[in-house]
Amino acid sequence: MGLEEELCCVERNNINNKGGRAWKEERGKRKEERGKRREKMENSSQESQLRSENCISYESAYPIYGMAFSPQSQRVALGSFIEEYTNRVDILSFQPESLSLTPHPSLSFDHPYPPTKLMFHPRKPHLLATSGDYLRLWELRDSSVDALSLFNNSKTSEFCAPLTSFDWNHIDHNRIGTSSIDTTCTIWDIERAIVETQLIAHDKEVYDIAWGEARVFASVSADASVRIFDLRDKEHSTIIYESPHPDTPLLRLAWNKQDLRYMATILMDSNKVVILDIRSPTTPVAQLERHRGSVNAISWAPHSSTHICSAGDDSQALIWEFPTLSSPTSIDPICMYSAPSEINQLQWSSSHPDWIAIAFANKIQLLKV
């Protein structure tokens, strides 16, 4: 021991570290779900998922990219990735109790080219938005889907530049921000179907957008920067991060809704998840570098500010807990899941925080955390 200053454990006990712990369940919700489940069990004969222990698989007829959990219902939306004009969006029902995913064939609809993102309305489970050539709003009826509206911001032309992503404002639900390859971000008032504002956000294509507050959003771009915009001051944006290699596009962005100081981004062809603290611009607070392939998707825990899940080409989904103070590059994930192939998409359910969905090839899996 000698000179070593030992950090003693605050506590030491003999409980097996891997001992079983039940997740806290909100009992009220459980009961409600049980009721729903009973209803649905009756007509779920056509379940096509492979069920295994605490992991629900669903195999689609086509490769999957877009995926969204409904924050207010049991629904999951899947967007196909077919390199042709006609693509599909499928709606599934997820029953955590019976560990089942049930497709709703009557709610499937065509989408022109693959949707680049799907997202449910933060409050209304029957509204789904997709992005691609336009931002589209769909209404899911009981057994049909209506294309509610299509948002085209170009007055002069009948088309606008294709959209790479969008984000539904979680505070002001009438507001959706879209990011486009024409270097702009457009903020829509979907209630009035008008453009609230359009900002030339970056020097190059904008690849992702994320809301922080009702009027504050951030975006990432091929110009290798993360910028924050405040709708109250449209003249200025703040660059809070620039990737060390100026030509490395930043592909995705996730803003920690539980602790708005933090956001995460991923780089092209990089195994890093870069965690940013908006209070310390330009210097990431942490870089999570335990993926052995490039990272494809990130998602913050919906109910914890310190947990983030990432998934990548190494077919792994890793959950990280990043300590506020620690050597920023040596953070290890706390747990992992290995999928059969490259994971392309990742969503952490906010209505069921103990479930994470991943998409690989033409399958999705719901993983219990």
Binding site: Y134, L251, T306
Partner: protein, 657 residues
């Protein structure tokens, strides 16, 4: 005791649980006015903080937080009273608040699903130095280890400069110190413990400073000042009582506090907040039972103490409340609810252990260090999550991550990384753009038919519709051209078209074969002499005119060889090298004219030979510097060369000079 309490209202039995001996012992460890003296000492030298590390009551031989005073920077100040305080009071209050915050953080760690009890400070209000001070509260040192431990073991002061850059083996808190800009740390033994002083200034070693502090402040401490426990209900003393109370080993820990919860609820006048408080110690007791290491015991006692002091604060020094708190666990001792899986409290209790377990698992110092920090720095909301995640119970799809564990799979794999993501971001927009251009072209093409986009801009859909309409139209045309045998769909139409084309091709071959038969017949009918005669006739008689004989000849041939296919363009040209190649079945007739020169004939013959052609007859004449050549031959090779290729080859030879 428990039996006694079983049926009693908690209030009645609470005070009887106090153990005076333990209480007094504790008093000896932390002299009553130590804090005051520490405050005086640290203020006199304008250092940032003072900590008294003392032998822990639970596990002798381990140093833990005994007392402390914070004198450093303060970011914000929340004074509930709104009364202006002088600097002494501020410092004093701040130290108290920090301690309280630490306790509340510990509390929230224990019962994450409840709200953190209100502390005067929240973690966001703290400066870096305060964080340092706060986190120090969680440290424990074995004697001989760590700065305080070594100082005590040697009985000598240790003066550490550049604490922020010290090797973490020497000073494990160096990273923390760095964040707090703590530069100088001094430890010196004092009574049964060690006093640690720290400052953000760089202070060179000065042992006289230590002496001065010792003599002027610390020697005036009262030791062993026994207070009458029953008479003092000041919060400080109550804290001590708490120690004592929970040091009582008589709890039946296997009892579960659902009952306790209820009791606390019903007995506490403050309602739910008190109930929560009351429940805290129960959680603790449950844990205590499981703790094996003495070190941890110290801490858990401390936590109990924390709970109680919170309770004290919340209940405005009401002894009633405290006694309820103390009492409830005992009542619960008899509650036989243990291990009912459906019992929410049981679950909660089990969860309470989660953070502890992570703290306990010292896989590496680094890891432990992070855990300590992260668990302390988290707010209660965040902890809820941490709790869930730190547990990979059997139900989870995730397994705990281990370095290098999954190195067996073959990564990195070949191929594009982020394939789908890149396609989505780079290619899909391009698909849309291409689609748009296409539709625009279509629009331009059929201007009149251009459909105005509706206000929703459904033009893309429209263009696609138009494209499909055109496709369908073409399919219909195709179908009308092809005899249809099968169904009406597009695949069938294409199938029929393919069949039909094949049929037509076969038919062409048949016809060609028939034609070949007639050709050979006519060929044999015609005598070679005739040919020679005729050609020579023409060639010799019409000397200068290069065209006429060919035209005539063609006419002649046209009569005789009706089925023969003649390359007419050879005749059109006015070049001096004209080549005509005609074939029928396996017979080939080559007629050519080119400028004459030495070796030309040989070259031509070689070129013709290269096509596996056997000569039946070769006639050549030369006139006016031009070579006229007629070759009759048959193919012998397996492959039949096309007339075009032969012609090209010959023209090449002919154009050579």
């Amino acid at each position: 005791m428990e039996a006694e309490c079983d049926n009693m209202h908690p209030v009645f039995c609470s005070l009887s649980t106090f153990d005076l001996c333990d209480y007094l012992q504790n008093q000896k460890m932390v002299p009553e006015n130590l804090k005051k003296q520490l405050a005086l000492a640290v203020r006199s030298i304008h250092w940032s903080y003072a900590i008294f590390w003392t032998d822990s009551t639970a596990q002798p031989g381990v140093l833990s937080w005994g007392e402390g005073y914070y004198n450093g920077d303060i970011k914000t100040r929340k004074t509930s009273q709104g009364v202006e305080l002088n600097s002494d009071q501020i410092g004093w209050q701040r130290s108290e608040q920090l301690r309280e915050l630490f306790k509340s953080l510990k509390t929230s760690e224990i019962s994450p699903q409840t709200k953190r009890p209100s502390a005067a400070l929240s973690p966001e209000d703290l400066t870096d130095a305060e964080w340092y001070y706060l986190v120090c509260m969680s440290f424990i040192f074995n004697i001989g280890q760590g700065l305080p431990g070594r100082s005590l073991a040697k009985g000598q002061p240790i003066w550490l400069n550049n604490a922020h850059s010290a090797d973490c083996k020497v000073f494990s808190r160096s990273l923390l110190a760095k964040s707090a800009s703590i530069e100088t740390i001094v430890c010196f033994p004092f009574r049964e413990g060690v006093i640690e002083l720290g400052t953000t200034e760089q202070v060179s070693e000065d042992l006289s400073l230590i002496e001065r502090i010792k003599t002027s402040f610390l020697n005036s401490l009262h030791v062993n000042v026994p207070n009458d426990p029953g008479a003092t209900l000041k919060s400080k003393n109550l804290e001590d009582h708490a120690y004592v109370t929970f040091d009582h080993n008589a709890y039946d820990v296997e009892s579960i506090p659902e009952v306790g919860y209820d009791i606390a609820n019903t007995t506490s006048p403050d309602g739910s907040s008190n109930a929560f408080q009351a429940n805290q110690p129960l959680d603790e007791t449950f844990m205590v039972e499981r703790i094996t290491g003495g070190t941890s015991q110290v801490q858990s006692w401390q936590v109990i103490d924390d709970e109680l002091s919170n309770c004290v604060h919340n209940s405005m020094n009401s002894s009633d409340c405290i006694s309820q708190t103390f009492a409830s666990p005992e009542i619960i001792a008899s509650a036989p609810n243990y291990n009912k899986p459906s019992d929410p409290c049981t679950r909660d209790l089990q969860k309470c252990n989660n953070p502890k377990m992570t703290l306990v698992d010292p896989r590496s110092d680094d890891l432990h260090y992070q855990r300590v920090l992260s668990s302390l720095l988290k707010s209660s909301d965040q902890l809820t999550m941490g709790m869930h995640l730190q547990k990979f119970h059997q139900e989870s799809s995730f397994v705990s991550w281990k370095k290098g564990e999954s190195m067996d799979c073959q990564w990195p794999r070949a191929g594009t990384s982020q394939k789908l993501l890149k396609k989505i971001l780079f290619e899909v927009p391009q698909m849309h753009l291409d689609g748009l251009h296409e539709s625009q072209e279509e629009n331009d093409y059929k201007e009149g038919m251009r459909v105005e986009a509706d206000e929703n801009g459904m033009n893309h859909v429209m263009s696609e519709r138009r494209r499909r309409a055109k496709l369908n139209e073409r399919f219909l045309t195709l179908r009308s051209m092809v005899p249809s045998f099968s169904k009406d769909d597009k695949v069938s139409i294409l199938d029929d078209a393919i069949q039909y084309l094949k049929k037509l091709e076969r038919r062409i071959k048949e016809l060609e074969a028939q034609r070949g038969v007639t050709d050979t017949e006519t060929g044999t009918r015609r005598s070679p002499q005739d040919m020679v005669e005729r050609t020579s006739d023409h060639y010799f008689s019409k000397n200068n005119n290069s065209k006429k004989p060919w035209i005539k000849k063609r006419k002649a041939c046209g009569v005789d060889e009706t089925g023969r296919e003649i390359n007419s363009d050879a005749l059109k040209g006015s070049y001096s090298n004209d080549v005509t190649v005609s074939t029928s079945d396996k017979e080939i007739v080559i007629e050519m004219k080119c400028p004459s020169r030495a070796g030309r004939l040989l070259e031509i013959m070689e070129a013709v030979n290269s096509f596996n052609i056997d000569f039946n007859s070769v006639q050549s004449t030369e006139a006016d510097g031009n070579l006229y050549l007629t070759i009759k031959s048959v193919f012998t090779g397996a492959t039949i060369t096309t007339t075009k290729r032969i012609k090209q080859a010959l023209q090449k030879v002919a154009s050579k000079c």
